[in-house]
């Protein structure tokens, strides 16, 4: 068996043993379409890059999980902790450096997923009473000289 045949066989095996999750293609199509729509408006936010994602057990009995996400952009780092999951999910966030910034939770289509919050002096913000589902955060410094940023979507 030559190498190409072997590699084709391996690809088939990986497709079978670690298949693409159900619905992934549809979710990615929706993400891409929503981004096209947003960019067609006067949306001018730089995309933050994900550098870390972890889930850990939380709650007194360790029955729920909280999700930690860390993003990075030019001159900006954002840490987000979601959950533990309840009926009204909450997000605790930290922004470095702690510039005065408005944080808006958005659904992928750009509509509001909850009330905005303001980053405090220590760089902390809290979003409460969010509507569950896919959200992304837009970070808009009050000083227009600083760029605005947006995270990719994540589920709450």
């Amino acid at each position: 068996m030559n190498d190409d045949t072997r590699l084709r066989q391996l690809a088939d095996l990986w497709r079978e043993r670690d298949p693409v999750p159900d619905g992934l293609v549809g979710r990615m199509q929706a993400v891409a379409r929503a981004e096209v729509d947003l960019l067609a408006t006067d949306w001018d936010h730089e995309l933050l890059e994900l550098v870390e994602r972890s889930t850990e057990l939380a709650g007194a009995r360790g029955t729920s999980t909280s999700l930690t996400l860390r993003y990075t952009g030019v001159d900006l780092d954002v840490l987000v902790r979601v959950g533990p999951s309840t009926d009204a999910p909450r997000i605790d966030g930290w922004v470095v450096p702690p510039l005065p910034t408005v944080v808006r939770p958005l659904h992928p289509d750009g509509s509001a997923a909850g009330a905005p919050a303001t980053v405090g002096e220590e760089g902390r913000f809290v979003l409460v009473d969010l509507r569950p589902g896919l959200v992304r955060l837009a970070l808009e410094p009050t000083d227009p000289q600083h760029a605005s940023f947006v995270t990719p979507t994540f589920e709450i």
Binding site: R8, L13, R27, M28, E35, L47, R53
Partner: protein
Amino acid sequence: MTAGQSGRVPETSAAPGVWSVAADAFERWRDGDLDALDELVALMTPVLWHVVRAYRLSHEQAEDVVQSTWLALVRRRDAIDDPQAVGGWLTLTSRRAAWRVSARAGSHVTLEPDVLERHVPSEPSAESTVVAHDERDLLWRAVAELDERCQRLLRVVAFEQRPDYAALSADLQMPVGSIGPTRGRCLAKLRTALTRPSGNDLGSPT
């Protein structure tokens, strides 16, 4: 010469034509056809999944990385001059993000238990002895016995048409010139594991 070799990595397991179909869809999307973006996403998401999972990310981490890749493409579409390059641009972008996330995860790499189970050769049982004779299971077992670097390299080259060896060498922490030979060695190890008498698969230490 290594650079020359990297350009001649033969079309491998991604079905022939995937990359040119992707280029065609990208071009039509760039010309204003939004349905072509859906086609491109449907075509390349499975390739990105396998490339990203080669970095041992969890399902959730892998999905985040694939998502970031598509967001980056929508935002940086105009930076891709040659439509033929879109497949390579997508896989390279996703590998960079996967590498970042997996490096950050460091020692506590998370794997779903079911995947872990499939990676670890299991204790023989009457049932598995029968199953192990299935060729695909034998191959899967042989893959699981390879070191992590071989597993990653083979999965990436199995799904990418022409992997960027320079970027791969950084990911795999090996010189560019040794990727081609390493690929050969990994495939040779796999052959050896497969030709071993089947009794050795069933648990005796030597």
